[in-house]
Symmetry: C2
Subunit: 316 residues, 2 copies
Amino acid sequence: MSKRHPNILVYHHEADTYANFLREHGYISIQTASSKEEALSHLQGTEVILGWKFPTALLTRPEASSVRWIQSTGAGINDLVSDPDVPESITITRITDQFGGLISEYVFAFLLYITKGLPNMLEAQKRSHWDPFKVDTLNNKIIGVAGLGSIGSEVVRKARAFDMKVHGLSFSGANAELVDEHYTAEEWPLFVKDLDYLVLTLPLTPATQYAVNKDILSLMKPEAALVNVGRGQLIAEADLVEVMRERRLQAAILDVFEQEPLDPEHPFWSLPNVYVTPHLSGQSHAADVGRFFLKNLRLYEQGERLQGIVNRERGY
Amino acid sequence: MSKRHPNILVYHHEADTYANFLREHGYISIQTASSKEEALSHLQGTEVILGWKFPTALLTRPEASSVRWIQSTGAGINDLVSDPDVPESITITRITDQFGGLISEYVFAFLLYITKGLPNMLEAQKRSHWDPFKVDTLNNKIIGVAGLGSIGSEVVRKARAFDMKVHGLSFSGANAELVDEHYTAEEWPLFVKDLDYLVLTLPLTPATQYAVNKDILSLMKPEAALVNVGRGQLIAEADLVEVMRERRLQAAILDVFEQEPLDPEHPFWSLPNVYVTPHLSGQSHAADVGRFFLKNLRLYEQGERLQGIVNRERGY
């Protein structure tokens, strides 16, 4: 006889999509919620939560006593990790190995856009102006990838296809062998000074918060470009505003911000060398996340180690 | 004693750059010209011509009797090949293996620009509008590369890094092993019908001229995009204008045209789904072309087979 499946609560604005996916795969005891009240009403007896921005205050209540595991539908879980409302007894897992493809496409879309001079080309077309200007290349440029997890590794892989020189910085030293030059967390100044492109894919932890600040930015080459697809707080935004106003970097391409959505009055929106996108570089696709969760559910039911377990001390 | 170096005539708008490069490498008998008159005045005794759009009518004159070899500074030599003024006794060589990197960067700059929705992102930023729309991906899309020479092969290599499915069409069958599905010149209809992206890197020959015409375009999926980095006459432009006017393709990205520069009145300039760029995807860099020519010069002096010899019957 097969073991009983755990009771699952899906908390998500697309909760029904996930619930249907799970039902199609034989899981029946599924509840869905997209508000705190709904979540509370279904919490009693819940063992597993699949969700995004779950109202963690609920986890301190007696109704949550049966919760054992929270699977985040995203890769970044800094909010959960530092949240004192999430009891130590609850395992947190995050999605890994799914965003590298999408995020690296975003990175190269913008690196090519600025490096190949697409703004010039598009502008010339508007004027029906035939002007074969000299076009730059990624070939032999130095890209620095801060964070060499599954996302950073995928940026590295694509950088190789463009015959770039690849430098990397990682805290754990993992995947150091992927890059031509590897730097540690103590070596930010050395790491950034030769880069043509700096791409941030780091998780947000106390050690990475505001790692890119005035001191680091001022060491970068003025023709360099910065891309942040990690978390907004990796960068001291006020410092970056000043640097971009003074045109001390060629471009900043920002998909994540200290506060999201970005305030409509924030100076980033209108700085001509800053590209603002609304945290869309690594969107969760329900089918992919669903498959990841399904695999983890099976491991959970067999009492095996889950994929993407968050180490709260390390912070990701 | 070393063999005497051949007399070289450089015909180019950057003739001095090439001439200086050659002098630095020990070649002294160099003449430069950038007009027909200048070229004629230096033709007597010339054995080798390095140039672009050399006025071939001069080659029928007695002053040209010593010319043995023309090295083109570009990859496309359809004008020279079909030119009856170039005697059969003159060897024509073209640059190979140098444009793949630059041209494939151009291709992916535009594929990512349209696929990742950069126009939407840039437009939303203008309005300080936070709108995380669903972003598409190159992953698993089908790219069809027509022409699998050094340029097409490099497009294929980058497509692999984006985890695309890669189909290819080539006349010679060369490099067929690089692609997932290979088609021959007789199979254009089969080749194009499943593609998400069609990239033309073919040389212009009687067999490829207008290969992409109304019949072929009408077989393509309406969400597909077409990129031409080969030669303008690969496409029947009047047919393409009609297709793009009727929005029967998502986008056409054109770096080459039947007539260059493109007429300022040409409808391509103002069609919203057509991207016009002024033949800049594969620019010759004097240093790279210089090195290619230098290697060929040494082979020439040693009586060995040159790199990039054009087969006039084949047409490239």
